[in-house]
C-alpha cells in the first residue's frame, strides 16, 4: 500500500465531488460529509501509525523517479498535522449542522469544506515546492468560496480584499519559485536540500529565502503582513471562521517550518534572526489587537496572530527544545482555536451580537458553557497542566538555550496578556448583570455545545497526556533537525 499517504487527500476530494451531484438533499449531504471526514481521520491515524513504525512514507506521482516527478512525503510532522486538521474538520462539520443554516447547506457548503480539507492535507503532505503552490491554491479557492458564501454585504466587501491579498501573494509565490528554480534547477524539496549547500553564492539564496518568508508570511499572518486577517476573518459565519482560524494560517506556518528547517539553512545568522525578530513583533502586534477590541470574534482572531508568533519563534531557534515545542504548540493551537471559536460562537448566538459591551450574566443560565469556556481560555494561555503549557514551555526553553533569551521573556510576559484577553470575555459575558438574551432551542444549544465540549476535552487530554504524544513529536522534530533523514527517505525510492 504505497499510496496510503494520499488517502487523507483523496477521500475528501472524492467525497466533495460526489456531494456536488445533489446539493438539495441536506440529510444525505450531512451524512456523507460526516462519513467522509471520519474516514479521512481514520486514514490519517493509520498513516501516523505506519510512519511511526516504518519510517517516512514517500510516493512519487506517476512513477517518475524522485527529483523529476512530484514526491509526496509523509513524515511525522506532516502526519500529525494532517490528523489534527482532519479532526478539526470533523468537528467543524458537526458544529455546522445546527449553525450554518439550510440556505448555505444547499449551496455547496460541505463540498467547499471538503475541498478545503483536501487542499490543507495536500499542502501538509507534498514534498515539492511547486506542488505546495498548487495545493495552497486549491485550499485558497475553497476558502474564497467559503468567505463569500451566503453573499452578505460584509462578507462580499471583505472577500474582495481577501481575494486581492491572496492573489498578490500567489503571484509572488510563482515569482519566488521561478527565482529558486533558476538558481538551483530543481523544485523537489529533498533535492533542494541536497543542491542548496553546494551553491557558493549564498547571497542570492538569502534573498530568495526572504522572498519565500514574505509569501508564506501573507498566508501565516506574520507581523507586517497580518493586516488583512482581522477584517477578513470577521466577516464569515462562525463555523467557517473556526475552520479558517484553525487551519489556514497554519498552512503558512507549516510551509515556513518546512522550508526554513529543510533547505533555507545556508545563512542562519541572517534568515533565522530575522524570523525570530518578526515572530516577536507578531506576538506584540497580536497582543495590542487582542486587548484593544471589545468584540469576541476580534479578540480570538488576534490570538491567532499571537500563536503564529510563538510557533515561529520556536522554529527560528533551530534547537531541539524550540522545534519540539513549536510542533506541540502548533497542534495545540489548531485545536484550541477551533474550540474557542465554537464556544464564542454559542455566546454570540445567545446574545445576538459579538460586542462584549452588550453581554453579561450568562453564568447563571448557561453554567456548563461558562466553565467549558474558562477551561479553554486557560488552555489557550498555557496554564499547566492544560494543552498550551508543554509547547510554550519548550519554546521558551529553546529561546533560553539559543541566542534570543529576550524573546522567551517576551513570550512569558505576553502569556499574561493572552490570559487577560481570553478571561476578559469570561468576565464580560458570564459575570455581571444579566442582559436580555435571545431564546435558544435546547436541542440547538446541545448540538452546538457537545462538539465544543468534546474538542475542549481532547485539548485537555493533549495537555495532561503530553507525555503520551512526546515520542511522536520528538520523532517529528528529529526529522526537522536532521534533513538527511528526509533526503534519504525521498531518494531511497
Amino acid at each position: 500500500m504505497s499510496n496510503l499517504l494520499l488517502f487523507p487527500i483523496l477521500i475528501p476530494l472524492i467525497v466533495a465531488t460526489i456531494l456536488m451531484l445533489f446539493p438539495n438533499k441536506i440529510k444525505m449531504q450531512r451524512l456523507i460529509a460526516l462519513l467522509g471526514t471520519i474516514a479521512t481521520l481514520a486514514a490519517s491515524f493509520f498513516l501516523i501509525y505506519k510512519v511511526f513504525n516504518d519510517g517516512i512514507q514517500v510516493v512519487t506521482l506517476g512513477s517518475w523517479p524522485a527529483p523529476f516527478g512530484i514526491s509526496m512525503v509523509s513524515d511525522l510532522l506532516s502526519g500529525l498535522l494532517v490528523a489534527t486538521a482532519s479532526l478539526i474538520v470533523l468537528f467543524v462539520v458537526l458544529y455546522s449542522f445546527p449553525t450554518i443554516g439550510i440556505k448555505r447547506e444547499q449551496s455547496y457548503y460541505y463540498p467547499a469544506v471538503l475541498f478545503l480539507m483536501a487542499g490543507v492535507n495536500g499542502a501538509f503532505t507534498t514534498g515539492d515546492i511547486f506542488n505546495l503552490f498548487v495545493f495552497v491554491e486549491v485550499l485558497l479557492m475553497a476558502s474564497y468560496m467559503l468567505i463569500s458564501h451566503g453573499g452578505e454585504r460584509s462578507q462580499l466587501r471583505e472577500s474582495i480584499k481577501y481575494l486581492l491579498v491572496n492573489i498578490i501573494s500567489s503571484a509572488l509565490f510563482v515569482a519566488a519559485v521561478a527565482l529558486l528554480y533558476s538558481v538551483t534547477g530543481t523544485l523537489n524539496m529533498a533535492d533542494l536540500a541536497v543542491k542548496i549547500p553546494q551553491i557558493e553564492n549564498t547571497a542570492i539564496l538569502t534573498v530568495i529565502a526572504v522572498l519565500f518568508l514574505v509569501v508564506f508570511g501573507f498566508k501565516a499572518a506574520i507581523f507586517p503582513l497580518y493586516f488583512w486577517l482581522p477584517g477578513s476573518y470577521h466577516a464569515p459565519p462562525m463555523p467557517i471562521l473556526a475552520l479558517f482560524g484553525a487551519l489556514l494560517t497554519k498552512v503558512g506556518v507549516y510551509a515556513i517550518m518546512r522550508t526554513y528547517t529543510l533547505f533555507f539553512t545556508m545563512n542562519i545568522g541572517f534568515t533565522h534572526e530575522l524570523l525570530a525578530i518578526i515572530a516577536i513583533l507578531t506576538i506584540l502586534a497580536g497582543c495590542v489587537g487582542a486587548l484593544a477590541y471589545f468584540d469576541v470574534k476580534k479578540i480570538i482572531i488576534y490570538n491567532i496572530i499571537i500563536a503564529v508568533g510563538v510557533i515561529l519563534f520556536g522554529v527560528s531557534q533551530m534547537n531541539e527544545a524550540g522545534i519540539t515545542g513549536s510542533i506541540l504548540y502548533l497542534i495545540h493551537d489548531m485545536m484550541i482555536k477551533a474550540a474557542l471559536f465554537f464556544l464564542v460562537g454559542i455566546v454570540a448566538v445567545i446574545f445576538g451580537t459579538s460586542n462584549l459591551r452588550q453581554m453579561g450574566g450568562l453564568i447563571k443560565t448557561y453554567p456548563l458553557l461558562g466553565w467549558t469556556y474558562l477551561v479553554a481560555a486557560f488552555g489557550l494561555a498555557g496554564i499547566p497542566p492544560l494543552s498550551g503549557f508543554p509547547g510554550k514551555l519548550l519554546v521558551v526553553q529553546g529561546g533560553f538555550e539559543g541566542p534570543h533569551f529576550w524573546g522567551s521573556i517576551v513570550i512569558l510576559a505576553t502569556s499574561l496578556i493572552v490570559l487577560l484577553s481570553a478571561v476578559r470575555i469570561f468576565i464580560y459575558a458570564f459575570w455581571g448583570e444579566p442582559v436580555e438574551t435571545r431564546p435558544l432551542k435546547k436541542s440547538a444549544y446541545r448540538a452546538m455545545l457537545i462538539p465544543s465540549i468534546i474538542l475542549v476535552a481532547i485539548t485537555v487530554f493533549f495537555g495532561v497526556g503530553a507525555e503520551l504524544f512526546m515520542p511522536f513529536v520528538s520523532d517529528a522534530a528529529e526529522v526537522m533537525l536532521n534533513p538527511s533523514l528526509y533526503i534519504e527517505a525521498v531518494f531511497k525510492e
Partner: protein
C-alpha cells in the same frame, strides 16, 4: 532575449501595480491579471530560453538544444489557476457591485462596524 524578457516582465509588474493602486474594482482585477502574467513570464524566463528542440529524446540533438519542459508545465498549471481565480474574482466583484452599489474601493474601507 533574456534581457528583453526581463524588461517586459518589469513593464508588466509596473502596469499591474499602477492598476492595482487605482480605486475602480475592474482596474484592480485587470491589474491582478497582469501581475500573474508577469509572474508566469518570469517563470518561463528563469527556466532559461536556450533550447529549441522539443524535450523528447531524439538522435542527433545535443542535450543543450532541448527546451526545458518543466517551466512550461509549471506555467500551464499557474495559468489555469490564475484563470480560475480571475474568473471567480470577476463574479465576486459583480455580486459585490450589485449588493454594495459601488465599485469604488475607497468606499469599501474599514469594516462594517466602523461605518
Amino acid at each position: 532575449m533574456e534581457i528583453i524578457m526581463s524588461v517586459v516582465i518589469g513593464l508588466l509588474f509596473m502596469a499591474a501595480v499602477y492598476l492595482m493602486l487605482s480605486k475602480s474594482l475592474i482596474r484592480i482585477i485587470i491589474g491582478t491579471g497582469l501581475l500573474s502574467h508577469g509572474a508566469h513570464l518570469l517563470l518561463l524566463t528563469m527556466g532559461g530560453l536556450g533550447g529549441n528542440a522539443p524535450p523528447v529524446v531524439a538522435d542527433g540533438v545535443a542535450v543543450s538544444d532541448y527546451a526545458d519542459p518543466l517551466p512550461q508545465a509549471l506555467i500551464l498549471t499557474a495559468i489555469v489557476i490564475s484563470f480560475a481565480v480571475t474568473s471567480f474574482f470577476l463574479v465576486v466583484a459583480y455580486r459585490a457591485y450589485q449588493e454594495l452599489g459601488t465599485d469604488n474601493m475607497e468606499l469599501m474601507k474599514g469594516t462594517e462596524d466602523h461605518e
